[in-house]
């Protein structure tokens, strides 16, 4: 079994405020190999922050501590900002939620993709453009040459997200962190975008961390699921076993969702058991 791409041990992130310190992430441990791992949780669970912490893109007020935070043998915790810059967008990429906000509105789409490539590879303009066009084709954009010259506001949500994927995958990263990549998209577009992401990730043998609030989506799309609550990982479970999850929080979340295949009168409202804040967490299954 090869070494996992990302190893996280006892990661904590806290914010020091005026009156008290907020522990946003509390001692989580997990690892990601060349697989799709979903991190699921509600707002405030710490899932987005975890994704950003891996890339050390946290706000200034945040303090990160961990026993181990390493990517492919590189100690991310000890890495300098300069070293992180060679990793970001190159070996680890991040896809954000809404292309409206994550694409530069003043630059043409093609320029942004070539820039993403040339930041880490010394190539001439023509070659970068050729690669960008190839990438646009890889994300199933039908007229890459035309789209290359468009501005972000001229493309639809689904296409914008595919452009974002092209931009983030062109340097061929080993690990991709996707933070709610399809939450802003319609269901039919979502399927398209996820298929593309799936294909690209599998083809390159990269690892994917898929952060979402949508339990069902993550159960279908990912190989493994981490359920987060109040800054901790409540359960670490293979995706296909999610429906049989055992931690009461996961069960409560699953039971509170309206189901298409089953008619219920009243949904079960999850009650917050304070024991979950510090109680035991569950890990099942082994990594593929």
């Amino acid at each position: 079994m090869d070494r996992p791409l990302l190893e996280v041990e006892d990661l904590s992130v806290s914010f020091r405020g005026a009156h008290r310190t907020v522990q946003a992430v509390r001692g989580i441990s997990f690892s990601v190999g060349r697989e799709k791992v979903g991190i699921v949780g509600e707002s405030g669970s710490g899932k987005s922050l975890t994704g950003r912490t891996i890339l050390k893109l946290t706000p200034k007020a945040a303090t990160i501590s961990a026993r181990k935070l390493s990517f492919d043998g590189i100690d991310l915790l000890a890495a300098s900002e300069r070293q992180m810059r060679t990793i970001r967008g190159n070996r680890i990429s991040m896809i954000l939620q809404d292309p409206k906000f994550s694409l530069n509105p003043l630059m043409r789409v093609g320029e942004q993709i070539t820039e993403a490539y040339r930041l880490h590879h010394k190539v001439g303009g023509k070659e970068a453009e050729a690669r960008a066009l190839a990438m646009l084709e890889a994300v199933k954009i039908r007229d890459p040459a035309r789209v290359f010259r468009l501005y972000p506001h001229e493309v639809s949500g689904g296409m914008g997200q595919r452009i974002m994927i092209a931009m983030m995958l062109i340097p061929e990263p080993d690990l991709i962190i996707a933070d709610e990549p399809t939450s802003a998209l319609d269901v039919t577009i979502r399927r398209q975008v996820l298929s593309i992401l799936d294909e690209l990730v599998t083809r390159r043998g990269a690892g994917l961390i898929f952060i979402s609030h949508d339990l069902n989506l993550v159960a279908d799309f990912c190989d493994r699921v981490l359920v987060m609550y109040a800054g901790r990982i409540m359960e670490d479970i293979p995706a296909r076993e999610l429906r049989n999850a055992r931690h009461p929080y996961t069960r409560a979340l699953l039971d509170s969702l309206p189901r298409l295949d089953r008619q219920t009168d009243m949904l079960q409202v999850p009650s917050r058991d304070p024991a979950w804040l510090d109680g035991p967490t569950l890990q099942s299954g082994s990594r593929a």
């Binding site: 799936d198 309206p258 009243m266 949904l267 409202v269």
Partner: protein
């Protein structure tokens, strides 16, 4: 509070009849037909869902029905009487709306008490303080929330206040614009339960717009699939659950909503 009418839904009178509704934005060459010849009927006590993707026109239909947009073609009849394009107070007394974003639908500077007192004042209700207490209890908040400001409330609490505001003048028809899509998953369950309970207790009629199929089928008995300003087809909730759809677009939508399956 009215007792729930035991008459089966199919025999109840029509509450809302929409005939050939059309809404056009812009003029001339850049005119966009947001709603194109939409017709449907809603019976009293029913819960009807409009589903579709962004841009299909479902929210535009809702806003035109609510009276927020008075420029539309076609006719809208409430209890078999056509409503004027510019609505009057009597209409608003019987038709109210709950908006999508609880963070935007409450006035940031007004206390809960004032938010609820205002519609009472406009429509001349008596016993305002009692009514405020009653409705706050009915939506699960309680009178202690009177003096809170919106920024002190969570998303779920704000949405409850919005529902209270809509129901305090005892309307008959409630228009719901994606009432839970901006809320956390666990809070969604609370609000959906509340909406279901209120409908039963007060014999309300619901017209709900959503892009989430599971949510819509949970609350509504019938749904209409919209795309590009048109209604493609109407189905019962049972049909939707079974995946029984005629139109290929509807089928694609239903499939995509069930879960992620890689495109072959």
């Amino acid at each position: 509070m009215s007792v729930v009418d035991p008459t089966p839904a199919a025999n109840r009178p029509a509450a809302l009849t929409v005939s050939h509704l059309s809404v056009v934005f812009g003029r001339g060459a850049s005119a966009l037909k947001a709603v194109d010849d939409v017709s449907f009927m809603l019976r009293h006590g029913e819960a009807f869902g409009l589903i579709g993707e962004s841009g299909c026109g479902k929210s535009t239909v809702l806003r035109a029905l609510a009276g927020l947009n008075s420029e539309y073609g076609g006719s809208i009849a409430f209890h078999d009487r056509e409503v004027p394009h510019k609505r009057d107070k009597a209409f608003f007394r019987r038709v109210q709306m709950v908006f999508q974003d609880p963070y935007a639908s409450l006035h940031p500077r007004k206390m809960v008490q004032n938010v609820l007192a205002e519609p009472l004042k406009i429509h001349g209700f008596d016993r305002p303080q009692e009514r405020i207490d009653e409705i706050l209890t009915a939506v699960g908040l309680g009178p202690s929330f009177r003096y809170r400001f919106p920024h002190e409330l969570s998303g779920g609490q704000r949405q409850r206040v919005a529902i209270a505001r809509a129901l305090i003048i005892e309307p008959e028809l409630l228009l719901l614009d994606e009432p839970t899509s901006a809320l956390d998953v666990s809070v969604q369950a609370e609000i959906l339960n509340l909406l279901k309970q209120l409908r039963r207790d007060r014999d309300l009629t619901y017209l709900m717009v959503s892009h989430d199929l599971a949510v819509v089928t949970h609350l509504c008995e019938r749904v209409a699939m919209m795309s590009e300003g048109r209604i493609l087809e109407e189905m019962s909730a049972a049909d939707v659950r079974a995946g029984r759809a005629h139109e290929p677009y509807t089928r694609e939508f239903l499939e995509a909503s069930v879960g992620y399956r890689p495109i072959a």
